[in-house]
Structure formats: structure tokens, C-alpha cells
Symmetry: C2
């Protein structure tokens, strides 16, 4: 048995005002090619296939198209669960009809049966467990005492384990936050006011656990419990991630463990952070990598920089945000006066704080005098003057 494990496609997501649908279609073309080339026995998609419960219509079309290519054109079975971003009912539409074509969509917890797929060395049971709120697990038989995600997962997995066919490999497909995992800015926390985390120990008994939710590809307490990571980088704090999909193989290891090989997909545009002085960023773009990537610029100039976004966008058309290195390093200054009621401070005091935050140093006496002359002129202008 060899299958591809992927998750967190977030189809229909926007990134700083740009639709990522073309980017998603671009890497999904490669994904379908990879699945066909590797002649995998299955594809597993561990939740958050859409970015929201009601995805845009073109995201629906894209998913339908990708699933058709996998299931119909290449005859590769697909196991797909709903994540916390998906609508359980919408993801599950047509489930029993799709199943007969090898497309196993599980949105709600109403069915816990395994999907048995044929590997090269016999059948493997896949257990698709869509994302569930603890309240759903509480409604299951014996689940009355469930109060958090860890107990919910533990309770549901005990039920799944009790139905295990012996002498089978068992693969769990789930969407959860395994405690200790490395989070990214683009994930939506599962629990407000609590960790929402589950310990890796709840997954005892499964030969492989194909997880979704965390966007960085990573192991979760064990080599056989893994996040595939998201399809693309969905925030700038993921710029350093190596996004990939995981090829999981059971045959090759003498100890019975699986082998997991990451396969990188080439994004249409990478998500990167570039850093430098304005003059270098503007004149020496070739030093900063592909100009059309999705970029965040860290500007290291000491002095004031006017209209940085517009000027840089002439060189870097997909520049999405700018930061000032000095500002990022020191953070906003909160001085004694700043901590109080800002309405009691004079315009000069307020601007002095702002200047310090932006420049990392106090303004000079000459700068203060220039500011005060300008504001006086503004405030004293006649109400019908050109300034108003």
C-alpha cells in the first residue's frame, strides 16, 4: 500500500486581497500528475479542503475537477474528510453515491465504518474521522462525560478500535490539533480559551495517522503520526516552510513501520519576505529572487520613507505588505505619557511618540519647531480657506 497524504487545501482562500484559486489549481495539477506517476493506491485529504463552509462557486468547480481526474481518469480512490473550515453537510453531499466510484467523502460523524482499500500486499483499512466538536462526541453512545477535544477524540477512537478487523493495517484520517505541534498564523484555532489539543497517545493502535489542521508539515509525537501541511503558504510566517505532500508506503520497512517521503509541489508564486534598503530594493531587484512572488518587504532605511508601497509595487507587482525593520525590532514605544489618556496629549507630544516609533530616536529641536509651525498654520487657517 502506497498512498498520498495531503491536507488543508483551503480552496477559495484569499491572500492579502488576491484570490489564490489559480495558484491552487497550479499545484493541484502537479498533485494529480504525481498521484498518477507514482501509481498510488489511494489519496487521503485530511480536512479543510475548502477555506470556508460556503466556498465560492469556482472553488467548488476546482475540487470537482480534481476529484474527477483522480477518481475517474486515474481510477485512484480518494478518502476526504471535513475539517473545521468545511461544512460537514455540504462536504458529505452524495457520499453514498460517490463511494461506489471510490470517492469516500465523510462530512459528519454519522458513519464510522472503515474504507477498505486494496494495497499491493493485501487490504488496508482507512478510518475517515471528520472534524468534530466535542458536543458531537458527547451525543454518541457512552460519550456523556466528554468535555474537550482530547476526550472527544479518545472516545471516538475507542469506538473505532473496538471494530478493528484483526490482521489489517489501520490508517486514521483526522483533523485535530495534536498538543505540542508547531502552529502558523493561517490556522483557525479549534478552541477559544483552551488549547483544543489532543495528546499523541490517543492514536495508539493505528499504523499511520494522516492529520490535517497544522499548516507546517511535521511529525506529531511519533513518526507514524504526521501532518502533511497545507497545500500552499497561506501567511508570511510560513515563508520558511517546505510545503509538500507525503507519500506513505508500508511495504518497504522490515520493522513493519511505514516510510514517509515528502514531495514538494512548485507554487505558481512563492510567498517570501525580502529585506533591504529602499534604494537596493528598487534598483537591485535581481538580488531578491523572482519579482512576481507574493512578497512582504522589510525596509531597513533609518530615515523617513515616503510612499514605499506604491514605489516598490512598480518593481514587485505582488508586494502584499511592508514592514520597517527598525519598527519591527523595537515595537511601538509606550512611554509614561503614552500609557495614559491620549486625549490629554498635545499634537506635538503624540507626534513625538510616533516619530520615535518610526525612527528609533527622538526628533531634534529643529524638527519639533518645523512640526509646530506646520500645525499652527493648519489650525489657524480660515474655515473657508483652501486647507478646508
Amino acid at each position: 500500500m502506497r498512498f498520498l497524504h495531503t491536507a488543508d487545501w483551503h480552496l477559495g482562500r484569499w491572500f492579502h486581497g488576491s484570490s489564490l484559486l489559480e495558484d491552487q489549481a497550479h499545484v493541484l495539477d502537479q498533485f494529480v500528475e504525481l498521484a498518477a506517476r507514482e501509481r498510488v493506491d489511494a489519496v487521503v485529504i485530511a480536512g479543510d479542503v475548502y477555506d470556508r463552509a460556503v466556498p465560492p462557486a469556482d472553488a467548488v468547480s476546482l475540487l470537482g475537477d480534481v476529484l474527477e481526474r483522480l477518481v475517474v481518469r486515474h481510477a485512484i480512490p480518494v478518502v476526504l474528510i471535513a475539517g473545521n473550515h468545511d461544512s460537514a453537510e455540504r462536504i458529505g453531499f452524495g457520499g453514498p453515491i460517490f463511494e461506489r466510484q471510490g470517492l469516500h467523502l465523510r462530512g459528519t460523524l454519522s458513519r464510522l465504518e472503515a474504507v477498505t482499500l486494496q494495497g499491493r500486499q493485501g487490504p488496508v483499512d482507512f478510518h475517515p474521522l471528520p472534524y468534530v466538536e466535542p458536543a458531537f462526541a458527547r451525543a454518541l453512545e457512552g460519550g456523556e462525560s466528554v468535555t474537550d477535544h482530547a476526550q472527544a477524540m479518545s472516545h471516538v477512537l475507542a469506538r473505532i478500535r473496538s471494530g478493528f478487523q484483526p490482521d489489517r493495517r489501520h490508517v486514521l484520517v483526522a483533523h485535530a490539533f495534536v498538543a505540542g505541534g508547531s502552529e502558523s498564523e493561517s490556522e483557525r484555532p479549534l478552541s477559544v480559551g483552551g488549547s483544543g489539543g489532543v495528546p499523541p497517545s490517543v492514536f495508539e493502535g493505528f499504523d499511520y495517522v494522516a492529520l490535517g489542521h497544522l499548516h507546517r508539515p511535521q511529525r506529531a509525537g511519533s513518526d507514524r503520526i504526521r501532518y502533511a501541511g497545507s497545500l500552499l503558504k497561506y501567511s508570511f510566517d510560513e515563508a520558511a516552510h517546505d510545503k509538500s505532500v507525503s507519500l506513505v508506503e508500508f511495504e518497504f520497512e522490515a520493522d513493519g513501520n511505514c516510510r514517509v517521503t515528502p514531495h514538494r509541489l512548485r507554487p505558481r508564486r512563492d510567498v517570501r519576505v525580502i529585506e533591504g534598503r529602499m534604494a537596493d530594493l528598487l534598483a537591485g531587484a535581481e538580488a531578491f529572487g523572482p519579482r512576481t512572488d507574493y512578497l512582504s518587504a522589510r525596509i531597513t532605511d533609518d530615515g523617513p520613507v515616503l510612499d514605499a508601497m506604491a514605489r516598490l509595487r512598480e518593481v514587485y507587482p505582488q508586494l502584499m505588505e511592508i514592514r520597517f525593520a527598525r519598527q519591527a525590532a523595537t515595537g511601538p514605544t509606550v512611554d509614561g505619557a503614552g500609557a495614559g489618556d491620549h486625549r490629554r496629549r498635545t499634537p506635538a507630544d503624540l507626534f513625538a511618540s510616533f516619530f520615535r516609533d518610526m525612527q528609533g530616536q527622538d526628533w531634534t529641536e529643529a524638527q519639533r519647531a518645523a512640526f509646530e509651525a506646520s500645525t499652527r498654520e493648519l489650525l489657524e487657517a480660515p474655515p473657508n480657506g483652501v486647507l478646508f
Copy 2:
């Protein structure tokens, strides 16, 4: 070949503040039973299966469940097109995968191939034509001059006809307003500022045309061009409709025509209009049919009726609206003063018009005096009085 023709399910629709989902599930249970009992060769659903482009999740679940019962449990092929209420992309999700299980969902115009189904006397070609705006037809080859629905339909049907397999029966499944049809209040017009209508003559060459859009079951210019009508009564002006689904059979007529037999489904609650004096409606409910139907009450009392809705609802829990027979008969009065700026009229003038609309006669001098005394008291009450 014998198949059931239905349309305009509008799953997820609300009726005067009540969800109709249970009512829809109730008749769809009967529909599935009918299809199984009659052992039909196909089910045709001619659009507006949902009430809106993004239907509620429980409506999605209901449709999925009904389709599964038809296609998987009873092995009856289904041909379903998007109507003007549906989202073409969402309806079409998974289409090529579903097709292999006999579920033929067509949302967009991207494919015009026929669905060939086996009848008792050979194959029949079903041509699913989802609802399209004229702009879509204009984008098709040779469609540049299309400006309205009639031209769009004509253009698309010419393309379909040009691919006709000879010696086959041809059934068109379409969602359109055929000119001359009888409209209902619960339909959404296809065209603003124009009829949006197509003449029956465009359907030349088809053995049967299974239409959706109009909610009253009716023929449309020919016995072989028909609306099945909506699943339920969706407005009170449909109270007198006989809602049904159509059993269409090709075998039995010597002249080659089809035989169409309506089958009524029993609604969980009928939609009816009851009429009478308040005293009779309240005391003699048994004379007005099932009390728990969805009702509109026409009240025939001459005098003023206070709190009619609340009092009647104690007897008729699903009373949805009340009308006063006199008011409905005469309509609002627009007298000389009423046609002008209402802000220039005194409270007494305004109330005199209202009184006339409600009662069908002018108020007496004593009534006018009572009104003026009451309003004077209200207007002169001290600002801190109990009236304020």
C-alpha cells in the same frame, strides 16, 4: 420507456416564516416510493431543485439523501438540471463521477451530450439543458446575435438537434418560461423588463419536453411540452392548484405520442384559504378543513375586528396571513387628498381614509368626534406623563 417528470422542488424554501423542509421531506418520501413502485426507467428533475444558489445545509442533506435512495437503493437513473434559482457550479459538483452511477447532474452549459437511457423498447436520449442566461448562449459558437431567451433557446436547441441520433426518442429537460404559460406568485421572473418567454415552436423535433419554472402543472402549447409544476404550493395564489408529478410513458399510444399521467403527492400540510366571519372561524373550525394546514384567512366581518391573528392562531396554529374580505374586494381608497402629499393631511384626514379602506364606508360624525378627542388627549399629555 416510462419516467417521472418533476421540477421546482425549491428545497430549503421558507413560507411566511416557517421552514418547509419537513414538508418537502414528507412528499419526497412518497415520491421515492412512487418511483420504486412504478418501476420507472428514469427520474427527471427540471430545475430549481434548491430555492437559492447557496441552500441551507439541511436542504443539501435532504437532496443527497433522496438522490441516494433513487440511484443507489432503487437503481433508478436521475437526470437533474439547474434552474434559475440554483447555482450552476454547485449543482454540477462531481458530475462526471456521479454519471457513472446513473446520476446525471448538469449545472452549466459546458456539455451538451445526451444521456442515453434504456427503456423497455430501446434506448431514449435525454437532453439535459440547464437554465442559461442569454449571455451564455451568446458565447457559444454562432451565438453572437442572441439577445433574448427565445433566441438563446432556439440557438442551443439547434445545436442539440444537429447531433440527434436518428431512430431514437428524444426528451428535452429544460427550465424556461414558455410564452402563454400560467404564472404563480412564487416564481422568480427570468427577465426584468421583458417577458423572458420562449415560443413553444422552438421545441420542434422532441418527443417530450420536460419543463421546469412554472409552478402550476400545465401543458405549454402542445401535449408533449409540459410543466410538472412545483413539489408543493409555495404561495397562497397556488391554493387551488393540483400539485403532482408526471408519469410519462412512450409505449402505449398507437400514434407514437406519449401518455402523461399526473400522480398527486399528499402534503404534510395543505396550503389553503379559508373565509368566514370571525365568530364562525373561531367557533366552527370543523367546517373549514384540517386546522393545522397552512392557512390564509379571509375575514368577512363588517365591523372592526381586534387582534384577529392572535385569536385565530389559537384555533389554527399555522395561520400565516389574514385578509379582510371587504378590503380585498374594494382595494385601498385613493381619494383626492390621498393622492397628494400625505404630510399635509391632518391625523383625522389620514385616519378617515384608513377607516374607509378597512370598513368600506365613511365614519360617522360620532366616530370622528371620538377620534379627535382621543388624539387631542394624546398630543396634549405632559412629556413626563405615563403616555410617554
